[in-house]
């Protein structure tokens, strides 16, 4: 019961922090929209072309904008040692990572659920495809949050080159991009493709707490 209470108050804290940093979220969404505009202007007003490339463009930009928000994953709590105090409060590093992944998904990724339908209309995507896009986004962004936790935790060890973490996310998210775009474009094989996507999520969800927690431990002991 105490553990559930601790988890609850951890989420309350995460919510308050995200709420106070709303401008971060806003700049992420703004980046996403501006990049879509750039693509729309670059490709031109050809509806057919936009319709063909639209899903791919949206997914690539979601990936890019997700790398922007990685800094906030562990960095602040690591810098001021709040991670140690929370850990001493009775949560293992693995559990902290899982909670951070969930809160990152809820407070950073879910607002995109509103942004995506608006962006889809800009690139002329059909209504029924938007729903498929949202479903693939929910699972895909869970994968991105898991990968993000690994990259953010690895970045704690690396004080100079912050771009390296984003590169790791991009390389490992290639399978996710392939299947999430396919889910939307290949409606006939929807169920099998979505199963593969869920499988990918489960693999990353199983790996990321251990890898991230190991990196956090190492980073704290080398601080």
């Amino acid at each position: 019961m105490k553990l559930i209470k601790k988890i609850f108050y951890f989420f309350v804290r995460e919510f308050k922090i995200s709420f106070k940093n709303l401008n971060d979220l806003f700049s992420n969404v703004l980046f996403f929209f501006l990049a879509i505009f750039v693509f729309v202007f670059a490709i031109g007003p050809d509806k057919q072309a936009l319709n063909t490339f639209g899903i791919g463009i949206i997914w690539s930009l979601l990936l890019l904008s997700s790398t922007l928000s990685l800094r906030r994953f562990f960095q602040d709590d690591f810098n001021n040692d709040a991670l140690i105090v929370i850990h001493m409060g009775g949560l293992s590093y693995e559990l902290i990572v899982i909670l951070k992944i969930i809160s990152h998904f809820v407070f950073v990724k879910l607002p995109f659920l509103i942004a995506i339908p608006i962006a889809s209309t800009l690139v002329h995507i059909d209504y029924n495809k938007i729903i498929l896009l949202l479903i693939s986004f929910i699972i895909g962004s869970l994968i991105l949050s898991c990968l993000g936790s690994i990259s953010a935790a690895m970045n704690l060890l690396n004080k100079r080159n912050f771009a390296l973490g984003s590169l790791i996310v991009m390389i490992f998210s290639i399978p996710m991009i392939i299947f999430s775009v396919a889910v939307v474009n290949d409606e006939e094989n929807f169920s099998s493709l979505i199963n593969i996507l869920i499988g990918l999520f489960l693999i990353f969800f199983a790996i990321s707490p251990w890898v991230s927690a190991a990196c956090i431990r190492l980073a704290l002991s080398n601080k």
């Binding site: 951890f10 309350v12 804290r13 922090i17 106070k20 001021n80 140690i84 001493m88 409060g89 009775g90």
Partner: protein
């Protein structure tokens, strides 16, 4: 209760500290004293199992802390020489997070009273980033009273505090010792506390 046996730490072929032995029973206060950069914080982190020692063992209530780490943490409050509060939350929000997180039974009234003694009451709804270094330190030290644990481990608790606050905290420390608590802290100067045992780190 806290027993540290022959603790060694070697990093990059350099001895950080060696042969540290500490035995602390109820009511004991121990100072880890040393110059800047002598490894006081590293020793505290090693005791707390954040850094793995090269050699040596640590026991809490007769059990090895390495294998029973959460039993050790359950009785320990660690005050770091940094602000662990969230900078853009208010003083009150930070205090209540630690209070709720540690399921503390301290009443609202006593928290307000404490804040009044520490002259923090007027900053209740101010964000932590606007506090001075001394006020941040006081906010950190409030966690000692909120968490109500037996073993207090502190890294440089006197930094940035004025003489008035130092007196208040020395009084708090002796009250805690009288109740059977244990205090282990690091500092580069020696405060005037009765029964203080000093361990030198070079």
């Amino acid at each position: 209760m806290l027993l540290i046996n022959n603790l060694h730490l070697i990093r990059s072929n350099k001895i950080i500290f060696n042969n540290i032995n500490i035995a602390a029973s109820s009511g004991k206060i121990i100072l880890i004293k040393g110059r800047n950069g002598s490894g006081k914080t590293t020793l505290i982190k090693t005791i707390l199992n954040i850094i793995e020692p090269t050699n040596g063992e640590i026991f809490w209530l007769g059990k090895r802390t390495k294998t029973n780490i959460f039993k050790f943490y359950k009785d320990t409050t660690y005050i770091i020489d940094k602000s662990t509060s969230v900078n853009n939350l208010t003083v009150l929000e930070n205090i209540y997070f630690w209070k709720n997180f540690s399921s503390s039974a301290v009443s609202h009234d006593s928290i307000y009273k404490l804040l009044e003694i520490l002259e923090l009451k007027e900053y209740l709804n101010k964000q932590v980033m606007y506090l001075s270094l001394g006020e941040i330190k006081k906010l950190e030290l409030i966690r000692l009273i909120i968490e109500e644990k037996k073993l207090w481990i502190m890294d440089e608790p006197y930094n940035n505090l004025d003489t008035n606050s130092i007196e208040i905290f020395n009084q708090t420390f002796s009250d805690h010792l009288n109740k059977g608590g244990i205090i282990l802290f690091s500092s580069h100067f020696q405060p005037n506390i009765i029964g203080l045992e000093v361990i030198l780190v070079n």
